[in-house]
């Protein structure tokens, strides 16, 4: 029996739901395959929005799925999460439908701060972003940093 979740999270615990309850939501996640390459389908407003291959790396098996079974949707490959005290580190590779790499983003996340650094398909640094959170977990500041080092505060 496939498992259903409310939202896909890379490093945070996901809320598992009964199938009927999940399907009644605007979006939900179903763990469609649990084999060698796990597949998580993200459904949005009744349509398959994205497929996520969690806890893995880009490779031939994933590429094959991206070209065939999942060729019509965008896909994510998410790495395993490396945990050190309250810090999580992981990477997401973002792909267009058909399997062309759009970009890759490395995340370093603590309860107060998430820093994401993204690189284009050729590996060139695109920029980074700091998200600051208060004790209640509310996002209080976002700063975008260009490759040249210019800092831009995003109004929230």
């Amino acid at each position: 029996m496939p498992r259903y979740f409310e939202t896909f999270f890379v490093a945070d615990p996901m809320t598992e739901l009964p199938e009927a309850e999940a399907r009644a939501l605007p979006s939900y996640v179903v763990e469609a395959d649990t084999g060698a390459t796990r597949r998580m389908e993200v459904w949005l407003h009744g349509e398959l929005e994205r497929v996520v291959y969690p806890d893995t790396q880009p490779g031939p098996e994933v590429a094959e799925l991206q070209r065939t079974k999942d060729a019509r949707v965008s896909t994510w490959v998410t790495s395993t999460v490396v945990r050190d005290a309250d810090e999580d580190r992981y990477t997401i590779w973002y792909y267009k439908p058909g399997g062309e790499l759009e970009h890759r983003t490395d995340y370093v996340s603590t309860p107060e701060l998430t820093v994401s650094t993204w690189y284009d398909a050729t590996g060139k640094l695109g920029g980074s972003r700091e998200r600051h959170y208060n004790e209640q977990g509310e996002q209080v500041e976002v700063i975008e940093i260009t490759p040249e080092g210019r800092r831009m505060i995003v109004k929230l």
Binding site: T7, F8, F9, V10, A11, D12, P13, P26, S27, V42, L44, H45, E49, R50, W76, T78, I92, Y94, H103, T105, Y107, S109, T114, S116, W118, G126, G127, R129, R131, Y133, G137, E138, Q139, V140, V142, E144, T146, M152, V154, K155, L156
Partner: protein, 414 residues
Amino acid sequence: MTSIRLSRRCVSAALGLVDDKVLRTLTSAQQEDLERLTAMIREDPALVTRLPGRKNVLGALKGCKTNEASELERRLFTQRLTEAGASGKNATRITEALKAGNIDGASANLLTDADLARLKNADDALAQAKGKRDSDATKAADLAAAKTEMDGVTGVSPRTRDEMRAALAHYHGVVDPAFSADPVAALRAKFPKIPPGDMSLLGTLDKDALLALESATEGDVRKVIARLKSNPGSDVGDLLKSFYYKQRKPARKEGEVYEPPTKVGDRVDTALDNLKQVRDRGFPFGFATKADFDKFMVSVKSALAKRSIPNGDVRIHGSALHSTTPGDIDVAVIVDGPTFTKLGDRFKAASGGGKQAKAVVDDMNKGKIASSNFYGANDPLVAHEVSGVGTSLDAQVSIIRAGSEFDLGPYLNK
């Protein structure tokens, strides 16, 4: 040696003014404590009249970091609050609020024990109101409860009581509840010389616009009324609302005191003149030419389209429309309620993390999704991609639900 002898003489003279009962509580004081008290009495001789009856003067004195009488009085006041049943948090907040509101220690000293209990209750009610959205009905009840408590304060003059209520409310990041309950009535009472017919014009403004007038002078109010007569559209109200929101935003953070907008009359005048200039020439401040602005708008619409975000109603608002030196270019992508919800659902589904999903949900509840929360396609941010196109300023891009509090003009459409 001379200075020490002089200091001792000063200490002796100053302490001679202190009530005997108070002096008896200072028998274990160190020389430095007495010198500190002396310095305070020399700064504010009337302090000696306010010390009798106060408990633990020595303890408060020992806690002082400065030689200012006001610090000793704040410490004594905090002690009294605690004795009256206030928690440590209550006492700190109330003391800090009165300090921020420039309420002197002498006034606070006049409060009775029953007044202190009322102050504590008002503080509790305001603490509950802090952070709640205006649309939350319980916020109005909290504010009304705070006002009722403060109305019962009898130890100080009505004017000082009102100042204390406003100071406490501002410390909690909200407008004085006596003003927010009925701003027009409050302004009528404050400025009886303004003709009732003119005052009734203010009644055409939204409540949030009126809240910008909390600290307005009579001159400010007259200027706003004059502009309402010559600009019957929504511009005056929108500008006032933007002044209020701008002041309110930092006060949502813990420890930030709300400061009502000032010089509102002059600011409305200037802003409307600048707005006319923008509308006449067809492009906002921050751009050298209309061609530069057109280039910017093309890039915004293209960046939105790339991310499958509707770009049919993209507008400029904010300071670039009414300030000759704007800090940034504010872009509003206006969508209807169902579209807004669908976009929010999409961003949440692509957030990838618990905190990020919460940020999207918080934005959806506000009615405004910041470009940093356009998940799924947020590298780079839309704002980052279009910043610097046709302008040297940064751009801020937000999706706004039509009719929400953030659907705030004046606007320039393209």
